[in-house]
Amino acid sequence: MASRITIEVTRYNPARDPEPRMTSYEVPLHREWVVLDALNCIKDHLDGSLTFRWSCRMGVCGSCGMMINGVPKLACATFLSDYAPGPVRVEPMRHFPILRDLVVDTSDFLMKLARSKPWIIRTVEKPADEEHIQTPAQLEEYRQFSMCINCLLCYAACPIYGLDPQFTGPAAIALAQRYNMDSRDEGASERLDSLSNREGIWGCMFVGECTQVCPKHVDPAGAIQQYKLTAATEWLKAMVLPRGAK
């Protein structure tokens, strides 16, 4: 294995650069190094102005999502040696405005996430000293979808979001489904009202790439298709039953 590897990194300073450009750096190629180690090496020893997000270094915080050789990945979970002899191309996540270098503006997602109401909604609150009991089987219903770390790799992978920025997107809908399937929640119809439309679940055309790139195996594509099935069933019930679905 070669002892060094070239990293091509997107550099962009909106105050100075008319548009993003690629800059190459050479870093040591250690077997145990991930792309994030290479970026930190560049920042510590080659160019202190390189800007990128990171925090936990262990695939939990979801901060270091970026495009690595054109594929959305967590920089902390992507080994450099897998790309030897290189070069490795590191770019900011696709479909988001670049703030600086590898840092993107995620405000659009945060706005859409709130629209999904990813919290437990109760029509009648239980007294504070009463527990909301949940069995392991009930937990299993939504556990997979609760693993989302909001890394937004699914948005960078989704061509529908790239083509139509109005689309709510994979993670926000998967999180809505996570709460819909929670036995303690009573807000499914409220969420359906805000997500059963063209910008919501019906905007998804099931490319499936969101599921492929998800580092936590959440399967957002599956969540959206299940949500569509629920929405279609509710629509049918509303059409057929005398008092509708509610």
């Binding site: 054109g70 061509p159 083509l163 099931f206 490319v207 499936g208 790439e209 298709q225 299940q226 569509k228």
Partner: protein, 120 residues
């Protein structure tokens, strides 16, 4: 986004082909309706339809349409376990248990149609 974004990854290309296959599904439905119309309008209409179907251009289009319809069906059945989550005794049933009955129904219906068409 580039106009050619769908060529960037195999999964994007598969998706576009799956979407495009709907056109051929529509074509096959249309052709079936025309065939039924020909069947109900006497032997000469039926013979004319069969004559039309023998044109090399029609044969070529229908071979492509058949492959796309096949692709459409296989990808569609492959996606069903994603949308339908069935749990038995707390365990999610495997994907094949959901897509399997779809394939079985497909084979049965195809055999039924073949019997009606080919029995002479």
């Amino acid at each position: 986004m580039s106009t050619y974004w769908w060529l960037a990854r195999w999964s994007y290309l598969t998706f576009i082909l799956r979407e495009a296959s709907s056109v051929f599904v529509g074509w096959t439905v249309l052709l079936t309706l025309v065939q039924i119309w020909a069947l109900t309008h006497g032997p000469s209409a039926n013979a004319a339809f069969h004559e039309w179907m023998r044109y090399p251009l029609m044969l070529g289009v229908n071979v492509i349409a058949f492959l796309f319809v096949l692709f459409h069906a296989v990808t569609w059945f492959g996606l069903t376990p994603k949308a339908m989550v069935i749990r038995v005794k707390g365990q999610r049933v495997p994907d094949w248990a959901i897509s399997g009955p779809n394939y079985a129904a497909w084979v049965l219906v195809s055999l039924g149609v073949a019997w009606v068409v080919l029995r002479g």
